[in-house]
Symmetry: C2
């Protein structure tokens, strides 16, 4: 059995998210079907992914893995070449290679980096970018955004910004949250954390833009961030502005221990959920 690491990008527009669902077009479903066919597997391919993106969310640096019986280096090369030929043009596999020992696309990951891109109301939106840049109805004051962002950084409970899953922890470490302006007037917000809860990126961006757009002030953001559960004043931004940009892994010799650690936390979560 050989584990293969697959790096890929996709346009999320015409997908019902990553996770396979019967009767719906999903990235996992599309990939697993083609991999099973191309490798002529007896059992359907099963992918494990680093970031389960929601419906409409894009990815430039998604990572997943797959265990293939009797695979070799050559299998990886063949798979890459053949997937290039058969996949629809909204999924692009960038690389397929044998995974290092201990690698788990989900549990070995130490961080995920997302971007969210918007066009302020005072700028004309570029129709060529409308699939991944959200046109706002207000302007964005980058000074206010820079002032508000640090309030959300660090290891904290992101419950006010998450869709609750009973028993699951919403404690995360947000390590980067900053905005950059593009030449075309659009603004890109960059977020990096060990992991993100469901709807967390879109809620953080919604809260920040409420402040940067002048509808809320920093005191509001502080109050919201201290709330013990999902806060109903936090707007959740549309999916199509969001891109999973990159997934970070530790050096190869730490892959296995990191995976064991993350799996333990997740198992604890699952136990808590069962009890709840």
């Amino acid at each position: 059995m050989m584990r293969l690491r697959i790096d890929l990008a996709y346009d999320g527009r015409d997908f019902h998210g990553w996770a396979a669902q019967p009767g719906l077009r999903t990235v996992q479903g599309e990939l697993e079907e083609w991999i099973t066919r191309v490798l002529r597997l007896d059992d359907p391919a099963q992918l494990t992914v680093a970031g389960r993106t929601d419906a409409g969310v894009h990815a430039r640096g998604q990572v997943c893995h797959l265990d293939v019986p009797g695979a070799s280096e050559q299998t990886a090369l063949d798979l890459l070449r053949r997937l290039h030929r058969v996949l629809p043009d909204d999924v692009v596999v960038a690389d397929v290679r044998p995974a290092p020992a201990g690698f788990d696309a989900r549990f070995s990951a130490i961080w995920r980096r997302y971007s969210y891109r918007v066009c302020p109301a005072s700028r004309t939106p570029d129709p060529l970018l409308r699939g991944h840049v959200v046109a706002l109805r207000h302007d964005v004051d980058l000074r206010l955004l820079d002032e508000a962002a640090p309030l959300l950084l660090g290891l904290r409970d992101f419950a006010p910004f998450c869709k609750a899953r009973e028993g699951a922890t919403t404690v995360r470490e947000l390590r980067e949250l900053r905005a950059t302006g593009h030449d075309d007037g659009t603004i890109e917000i960059h977020l990096l954390a060990d992991a993100f809860c469901h709807s967390m990126v879109r809620s953080l961006v919604g809260a920040l833009l409420a402040v940067a757009g002048g509808r809320r002030d920093v005191a509001w953001l502080e109050r919201v961030a201290a709330h013990p559960e999902r806060h109903n004043e936090v707007p959740v931004m549309p999916a199509h502005g969001l891109v999973l940009e990159e997934v970070g892994y530790p050096p190869d010799d730490l892959l296995a221990s990191r995976a064991a650690e993350a799996r333990a936390v997740r198992t604890l979560d699952d136990l808590r959920q069962e009890r709840a």
Copy 2:
């Protein structure tokens, strides 16, 4: 009668080009229909455009004009606001304003700037940009491209790069032709000329990339460029990599004389065509 200048951008993918054609979705057709409706015009709106883009070609800085009986500054503001509401999301009107005296979107223009963007074969194409970045099957040597581009600059007969129109001149002045690399590995070729003949940009880019991809050498390009008519070794690149970026006009006091000049050349062309 007031002349309005309209600045707009569009994603050319789902349009059969700019020019209205019965039964086909075109940018002109879409705009004229909505303008006629929104302004409740007795006679259908008739637009004159700076750059008649082909099927599949995009625009970020297209310019057109329209004569409206009894219009005022307020008409321009109202039209802009209402078009924002009703137009489909692949056409974005950036501005509508009263045109200065002597302005003609087509004949007053002194230059057109286009871009053509490609992704070399060694880079993973970004699926989010696939609508306007052409994935190549070869790499691009920017050094070769920089060496070849100057050979095509200046006032010359671009017949080898144009679809012939009997009697029409193919003499143009190509003032800029250069490539820039984006951070994502894509390459953008910038072209600026007084005007472009039919298929000229896509042929120039095709010829340059043949050299920059190593399939042809500079001697070939020189031979092709000296050919008296359309050269069949010049590849015509696909439409979707091409964007009309900007149209240049002279200062307001020169608009009318420039239009008269350009109209005279065009009339001469038309006369020649009639005779041919």
